[in-house]
Symmetry: D2
Subunit: 337 residues, 4 copies
């Protein structure tokens, strides 16, 4: 049996807690020694203890200086990602970081250089790659079942819009929401995005528009492989969280539907109806968060490549920048790599 | 009971025969008095007689000069549409014409003016509007079930590519194939297309590219209503004729799947499988051809507006022109109305 | 080209008219010379003429004595089937008869003997065998795709109950409604029913119970092949006409779903909903009525076996009798052949 | 926060381990203090320790005599259930027992009397009631969405037959396999089964027949409510574990399909295919095992009724006995309560 991996988690917000729960209840091969958060309080500490977390602290540096800890998860606010990654790398810790590393390309590159020099493992948190449906598409593509990919489509629609304040602060829809889809099209196509063109609109909430963002868009894509693609986003699908994709190729297509709470179908005089897809991303993607953690932990333990490395942290941000430029100029924009 | 409409059909090719069959076998309210085709031969004449067509001729002018004939169907090659429409209009015949009227915008407009002056009914042959699935989407949209339309998507993929010669001669994918989809997005959205951007590729057959055309594309659309949309086209879907659409709006979405020959599902150790969609457009759309004819005939008999008038003949060609311009320039292009 | 078959139709009720329409509008290889009905009136005559029927009469004997007529369709009330079949056979006409020939087994056998002696073609009107869905099941079974059939299931539920008077006069649910399902299980399994057990109930309309009939039942079946099966019937499915089947075998299963007016799926905050199946049997099965006629006409023209011969007219009635006995005695009953 | 429930688990076989895993990794409100198994070895002890189990033993009596333990799970072989339940009840432990308590009705009743006298909580392990799909049916029925239930159908087919030895030793298909379905129809209908009739066959493995059992059956059911029902069972579905149900009632029906590993649909020239249902019952039902444990633990902690009490342990065995009698006599049999 492998040595149990000892982990520290920085950030006890929603996503930090998701990882605590995954590791403590579903991954026997690892344990959380320390959970750090500047706002750590009694309640969170008790919850952490009940989960089996060794200790809690307000100071994440305790994690970095703890020689027993092998790996850190960085779940703190985005603007702290880059500095903490640097410190963690210099401390020799393996790193899993929530997306994005940063919104500044140069800073991301700088950060990744440090990671590489330190020789530690690095994984970025694009959890949807670990989802059973998207993985089934990828597996079919890799197995050659659809032939050469020609058209990659992603429909990605949130159940509810963020507040306009959040939208503004987030850096905009492309880095906040579409960034997952930019990663997804890279994953599904096995190719890099060369050019993007954005058709954007404010159709959900005028306040989002006033805050300088959009809430609905269609993004045309051109891939290095010659394939083309399209992402459609809305900040509000009335029926819930809509997460689907299709890869169409020379031999056919593979497509996924949404996951539902049950397969029950009700047939009455009013019609035939089934359940709405999951509304909340943690219901829809919980298993994918666990799976990404399993694979990160396994990569550290087995000293193999993580499934999502530095380049995967960088590329989606670069595409998002090009998308922003396209929205601003109204023209197709080549992605700067 | 209404007086039976007396019709003449010009062109005895595939689509002309489809209309003969519809009218003779499924529409009691009309009859085909004369079928004209410059290549009329014994075999076609016998087939026509067996269907109940009154007579056949090589000269379509016999139809135009026959005072008993109320309406003509123009199913001849595209380059003859405009002149025959003019003659028919001047002869006071109601007109149903296969799409497109012409590939020259000025000539279309001129032709439509003559039709309008003549005061005859005119209908253009975008049959897909009469399909049960697309009509179900439109009905849901009109009934307000999805709220305000925000994203209109059409997936339209042919089962087999045309020859490169055909592709070249056809005027290109936008006027030959996508034109149906341009009509469809106008129909589904209830709005006009203002701007298009084309991401095109040659992925199916290099010869199509050599002939100056593309065979795969994603077309981003901006509507006058503020909605946005996307059409994806391929000249070859390995699994058959793929014809789907979705309208996503403020209250939800309505989407259609393909039609299959049966609902049978086979479950074995190899997997769960169902039938492929219809391969041939006449299998898929036969009922829509009959329905468009029923509605044309009813409009003439009841002296009401035809479901698809002159503007519906013009707009898709104008959008196709803009698409061609976008493909050439690599930029989004405003549709010239 | 084959000589056009000349047909006479006896009975101008709903089903007689369905056949007139099929033959006149969809089957070029045959024509209806005469339509007979004791209640023939002006309106029906005009309708027949508009369809292309040669003449109408009140006396079906005119059909039988018309030497030009090759084949007759018997669409008159059930109690006239046996005598008219006899007369038609003696007149040398090929015969298509609506189900059932009679409710008396001895009389059916006697009638079939006369038909056989006369050497004319005979087909019984179990139209569902010609339905695309059930045929897809049968094709899969015949092709060996599910291996040896083991469990045959038919769900057959009407959209609306008949009046209690009708139920009583019809001879009961087994000969009026389930008889189609008895034919269907023979067709799908390729085997004969040896034993039946009925679990019956009156759950839809107490008046049906008072009239001595049931309106809901589950019928267990044992086949000569060793397979087993089950039919479930209800006189009222609130959501429409429910017509499904499954054959489960050693290598897998093949099952069908209902046909819907469109594939449209509406997704809103209220749920995901699709269309109800067709409500009316003529909408659901229209194409099957045409197909059974095509195959009858082809069998006469080509002098081949009809797809449903005398034995197929007899067996379902024999099974229905056994079902009636089982309902009465509360015990499983062997079918008397 | 409630006091954490302290549990002992008797039996470290497959199902015992499932419960260990559920409680240790997914139910923070309980912990496993002791795991007992007469064949306890080093490997199992280590596994238990890694899960967080306090200690292991070969002697289950250590659990019963441990005053800190609140509740026991009995996961030992069936013939030990009754005696251990008695001992546990007398020791004042709350009891969860895998199905069935016993195959002897008198012994079950005696055992349940002791449990009742002891005043401890009791739950029987029919896990499928806790499955999301079947629960969705039950919820729809309880909410009145299908009106009065009229026809209850369960299709329950295993992916692979047991060995003939196992089949013989198990007491036969009705107590080994169908017993889950007998519970299910009680759950879905909300009514008791009054009468059963079995149509049984040996179609999967002749050795099962030689061992005196059957491997395929259709069981007709009559409920106290007046509803009727049917269960179809096969020991081998080539495509995997087939677990579906439908309740049809006066206002409509509610039905479930199988769960699949993903929603991916592959469309190629060969056809349209999707994934097979889960093959292994632990994949299909894992979540239901956890949920039944959650609800048992909650019932103990909150001092409320368990969701499945003594009567739910008894009734399915009584129905199974009637089914056995029906198979033997070839007649419908009333269930003896």
């Amino acid at each position: 049996m492998k040595k149990q991996l000892v982990m520290g988690i920085i950030g006890a917000g929603r996503i930090g807690r998701v990882h605590v729960e995954s590791i403590c209840t579903k991954i026997p091969g690892a344990r959380v020694k320390t959970l750090a958060d500047p706002f750590m309080n009694e309640e969170t500490s008790q919850w952490a203890a009940s989960m089996g977390v060794g200790s809690t602290t307000k100071d994440y540096k305790e994690i970095l200086s703890d020689s027993e800890i092998d790996a850190v998860l960085i779940c703190s606010p985005t603007d702290t990602h880059a500095p903490i990654i640097r410190e963690a790398a210099l401390a020799g810790k393996h790193i899993f970081c929530e997306k994005p590393i940063d919104l500044d390309i140069a800073r991301i590159k700088k950060t990744l250089e440090i990671v590489e020099k330190a020789g530690v493992k690095f994984q970025i948190g694009f959890n949807r790659r670990f989802d059973h449906n998207f993985r089934a598409i990828r597996n079919a593509v890799e197995a050659g079942k659809v032939g050469e990919p020609q058209i990659i489509s992603v429909k990605s629609r949130d159940p509810e819009p963020p507040s306009a304040e959040y939208a503004a602060a987030s850096g905009g829809i492309f880095v906040d929401m579409t960034i997952h889809d930019f990663d997804m099209v890279r994953y599904l196509s096995g190719s890099e995005v060369e050019e993007v063109y954005v058709q954007g609109a404010v159709l959900v909430d005028p306040a989002i528009g006033e805050a300088g963002d959009i809430d609905t868009c269609i993004i045309s894509l051109k891939f290095a492989s010659g394939a083309i693609g399209v992402i459609d986003n809305s900040r509000k699908a009335a029926y819930g969280y809509d997460q689907r994709a299709e890869v169409f190729g020379s031999k056919g297509s593979v497509a996924t539907a949404n996951d539902n709470p049950s397969t029950a179908v009700l047939s009455t005089a009013e019609g035939i109806s089934s359940e709405k897809p999951y509304f909340f991303f943690l219901e829809r993607y919980m298993e994918s968060f666990t799976q990404e953690m399993r694979e990160f932990i396994a990569a550290v333990q087995d000293d193999t490549e993580t499934p999502l490395g530095g380049i995967d942290a960088l590329r989606p941000v670069q595409i998002a920048m090009a998308a922003g430029e396209s929205l601003k100029t109204g023209k197709p924009v080549k992605v700067q790599y």
